[in-house]
Subunit: 226 residues, 2 copies
Amino acid sequence: MLKLCLKTINSRSKYDGIVQKRCHLPHGHKGRCDEFPFLRHFYEMDKSVADKIKRDSTMTTGAAWKSEDAGPNRILRWVMLLSDEELKNFGLDMSKLKPGIIAKLREKAADYDSCIEVALKLTWLVYQMEDAPQPPRAIREYLEGFFGQMDFGSTVCEVCKLPISFKLFELAQRGKAEIETCHKNPRLHNAENVGFAHRECNIAQGAKTLDDFYEWIEGILERSGH
Amino acid sequence: MLKLCLKTINSRSKYDGIVQKRCHLPHGHKGRCDEFPFLRHFYEMDKSVADKIKRDSTMTTGAAWKSEDAGPNRILRWVMLLSDEELKNFGLDMSKLKPGIIAKLREKAADYDSCIEVALKLTWLVYQMEDAPQPPRAIREYLEGFFGQMDFGSTVCEVCKLPISFKLFELAQRGKAEIETCHKNPRLHNAENVGFAHRECNIAQGAKTLDDFYEWIEGILERSGH
């Protein structure tokens, strides 16, 4: 695998004491360090796609509002690895949240490196969607160094296995996400376990692993006489 | 079918001008008229179940909050049969709602008689759930007059066809509805088309008809190699 720079990057996040952000440019690169160099192309041509990859990789899902017991807004996944005691130092009192919310937040916890790997994997998959833009050569080779050769148009929904078009991202900008990041096992956030799914497929899968989901719908078809 | 009283019942709802509520006791009954006599037993022993049947039969789904463009709270389904002009007289300005909300509200429209039939059907089904209480004889015979003989323990989820236990209603009281009213065709609210489903089954079905849902998951299993 490609050797990376991995120098720490200073930021002003209050969570910097937990994990130092790092540079993921190739080792010995020229110019400034960059945490997400593989997203540069999308940041230039379609910022919402880059934002989505970064957000889904590094942040928990969260309520769109803020209230004492609904839980915090999206929060960095690695922050959720801290103990209840440590979280209090960041102004987050887990004991005030409902058990269901706590479980959901803790389930989304993941370490920094896993989150970066997820971002890499999702970017690699987006470029292989139907109607996706061609990656610049440097980014293509960089991503292929992690996950193998790209096969353009080959990205399918992890659930229903139908191709996913890059154009569906545009619908999201009009309010409704049609492509969602999907976890084959909803309780594991790492490169191997993530992919994209249609919104309706992701909703149907729910909290089940993909294997359990397929088994479940097999049973449904059997019992309903199909 | 049983001949009903059908005398109008006075109430103080602002919507009384649209539809007059009617008595559904048998024709020539003694005592006071009653719109939902078949729910009396549940109103005595488990009010939340009676409330749910009445609510799901007669009201649209609705936001739990009230804001200008999120749409109104639950509203009587037959009110949604009125024109935009008529609705203004009831303080509801449809032109202020988002197109998606309008479509959803209009889709839930149903006339008064269909709603009563749905309530009858759901009550008949609840008594046939596993672990359900025995209906008083008068209510049993009344409901059987509409939908045929009861077969106790025979009510299954409309989607997955597994039995549904009456005990799941209790979970709803602790915040999470585990049994939902389900429509084989989500755009038809009548006795033939309704039943109960597990929450996760209802969510998986989404806006699809049951036939389309089964076809969809057949395709998923095929493409995923199951």
